[in-house]
């Protein structure tokens, strides 16, 4: 790995994202206090040596809540992007290979899905899947599918026209084999960059869904839910609202920096995404 690859944004993004993921993983086995344990006598404790970030309206340790609360946004975002990436990239690559009816149908379906914001999908799926992390994952995942279809379709179109793909066809290889062995490695860079940018959007989307009650369900903590509960307590304890919001913002920035850094490292000439459209 040369020095150009490790640019400052990539490094900063990787440190933030790595830190948040590590925190989420650690919280599953250890937190300073049990994040679900109520201690009413000790509610609204200010930050201090015992509770670094204080306690909330039910006496729960805010730092522990914040650590466990990372599981929802990070977990949902990663699973949703995985759904979108696997389904969307497969469909996009195969659509680019065939042309004709299958290709037209895939692109039209993708346009159709584009008219459904993730929030509406979550509302439609809420009763079927039950409100919770699964609903958020599937809703955001479906929302990602057309994005990855478009990206992989456009990127793989020239690869399918190349000589080595024609050679593989003559050798009797099927489309799926060619897509996996020849096309995928060629568009992996584009997909990597888009994946990290979409992960930041996933964190925001999960936070919004949990905030309006369509994501992580109580008593499990989640940054979005913590903000919902803190809203009515704003005048009494602003810190309860500030901490989870900052956590969301830093995580989103981390994924954005990682995406920008990856783009600079893998795509210095801006061929993957026109710079002007790379914002999200």
């Amino acid at each position: 790995m040369n020095r150009d690859f490790l640019n400052a944004r990539l490094l900063a993004g990787a440190i933030i994202v790595g830190g948040v993921c590590l925190m989420a993983l650690i919280s599953l086995v250890w937190t300073p206090y049990d994040p679900l344990k109520l201690d009413i006598a000790n509610r609204f404790a200010p930050p201090g040596p015992r509770h670094w970030l204080g306690t909330d309206q039910l006496g729960r340790d805010v730092l522990s809540l914040l650590m466990r609360g990372a599981v929802g946004p990070v977990g949902v975002s990663i699973s949703a992007v995985t759904i979108g990436l696997v389904v969307g990239a497969t469909a996009g690559m195969l659509a680019a290979s065939s042309g004709g009816v299958a290709s037209y149908a895939t692109l039209r379906t993708s346009d159709f899905l584009f008219a459904f914001p993730a929030l509406l999908i979550a509302i439609l799926l809420r009763e079927t899947l039950g409100p919770g992390m699964l609903n958020a994952m599937v809703a955001i995942g479906i929302f990602y599918i057309p994005i990855f279809i478009r990206v992989s379709y456009g990127a793989s179109l020239p690869v399918w026209r190349s000589g080595y793909v024609a050679a593989a066809r003559v050798a009797g290889r099927g489309s799926l084999w060619i897509a996996t062995v020849h096309v995928l490695p060629n568009i992996a860079g584009v997909l990597t960059v888009h994946t990290s940018v979409q992960l930041s959007l996933g964190v925001l989307a999960e936070a919004s869904l949990s905030y309006i009650g369509l994501g992580v369900q109580p008593p499990q903590p989640s940054w979005g839910r913590m903000l919902l509960e803190a809203q009515t307590l704003l005048p009494i304890s602003p810190l309860l609202a500030i901490a989870p919001g900052l956590a969301i913002m830093v995580t989103v920035m981390g994924f954005n920096l990682l995406g920008a850094g990856l783009r600079q490292a893998l795509d210095p000439r801006g061929a993957f995404i026109p710079e002007s459209e790379a914002v999200r």
């Binding site: 039209r108 346009d111 159709f112 584009f114 008219a115 459904f116 914001p117 993730a118 929030l119 509406l120 509302i123 439609l124 799926l125 809420r126 009763e127 079927t128 930041s200 925001l204 936070a207 919004s208 905030y211 309006i212 903000l227 803190a230 809203q231 704003l234 005048p235 602003p238 609202a241 500030i242 989870p244 919001g245 969301i248 913002m249 830093v250 989103v252 920035m253 954005n256 026109p274 710079e275 002007s276 459209e277 790379a278 914002v279 999200r280």
Partner: protein
């Protein structure tokens, strides 16, 4: 241009037709009988049956679908179970809050984002440029509902300049109603304006590096003249596509922000309706929102062709 328009409209109609089937189907698999929810668990079987008949729930699926869709087309999709008023009246009243809010937010986002982006591009590489880029990075990462809470904390709780939430209604006069929309609109607009500023800056920087701008400068135009007469028009093309891409986020944001500020708009309506199993309201509102997104996508595509002759010729 006319052919592109016809193709766009045909694709829009197909999208709406499929969307209506998908939305209707999604509503049918909801567990929980609306009649049961309305009457409670202790309802007598004959009362339940009577209510189902009154709501039309005893009809076959195809008939109910056709009743709903033909109702949508004639502007009367049905009667809300919980509010006991026509769905069209309900939606019209709620749009009176949501549309001004979305319009205000969009206008603010454009008014803040575009000039900032132009300013940064004109001073590329200097302190102003770096400052704008850093602020925009922060703005993009801020969840709008958290920004809303911080704004409430500052302007409503601490300074007491603006109301923290609720809506007095337009009957009380435009002044109080607009005041109630200020904080929600700002919370929606700031993250959007950060995106617009970034896109505007990058787009203008790209255009300014092109040959025709150099030619214009060589003809003797000042930097400002070249920017205004030649670069801006070209730089607006990506802005259009980003506005189109961001629109669903603005819409979703409006739904969430309405819940933060307890505004009686479309967003709160759909959430209350989901909780009360008011299916006809949920499916009609979701259909309306999907239709709005689809129409905006079509308009953006057409505007693209109108602004850029290269797209027009390709189509």
């Amino acid at each position: 241009m006319i052919r592109a328009f016809a193709a766009g409209v045909a694709s829009l109609l197909a999208t709406l037709l499929v969307a209506s089937v998908v939305i209707f189907a999604a509503m049918q698999v909801l567990p929980g009988d609306p009649a049961q929810v309305m009457l409670g668990v202790n309802a007598r079987p004959d009362t339940l049956a009577a209510l189902r008949e009154q709501l039309g729930l005893d009809q076959p699926l195809a008939v109910r679908y056709w009743t709903w869709v033909s109702g949508l087309l004639t502007g009367n999709p049905g009667v809300s179970h919980t509010y006991a008023v026509p769905v069209s009246d309900l939606i019209a009243a709620r749009l009176g809050v949501s549309l001004p809010l979305a319009a205000l937010a969009l206008a603010l986002a454009v008014a803040i984002g575009l000039p900032l982006g132009m300013w940064a591009a004109a001073r590329r590489g200097r302190a102003v440029d770096r400052g704008v880029l850093i602020v925009a990075q922060l703005g993009i990462a801020v969840p709008n509902f958290w920004l809303a809470m911080l704004l409430v904390l500052l302007f409503a709780v601490t300074l007491r300049w603006l109301p923290p939430g609720g809506f007095p209604g337009w009957d009380a006069g435009a002044g109080p109603a607009l005041l109630a929309l200020v904080l929600p609109a700002v919370a929606l607009a700031l993250p959007q304006s950060a995106i617009l500023a970034q896109v505007m800056r990058q787009s203008l920087v790209d255009v300014l590096a092109q040959d025709f701008v150099r030619t214009a400068r060589a003809k003797g135009l000042t930097r400002g003249q070249a920017l205004r007469r030649h670069a801006l028009r070209n730089a607006f093309i990506p802005i259009l596509s980003v506005l189109g891409l961001q629109f669903p986020f603005l819409l979703a944001g409006t739904i969430i922000i309405e819940n933060v500020f307890f505004l009686p708009g479309i967003g709160r309506l759909v959430f209350q309706a989901v909780n009360q199993r008011d299916l006809i309201v949920v499916q009609s509102v979701v259909m309306l929102l999907v239709a709005i997104v689809a129409v905006v996508n079509l308009l953006v595509g057409l505007a693209y062709a109108a602004v850029d002759p290269r797209v027009r010729r390709a189509a």
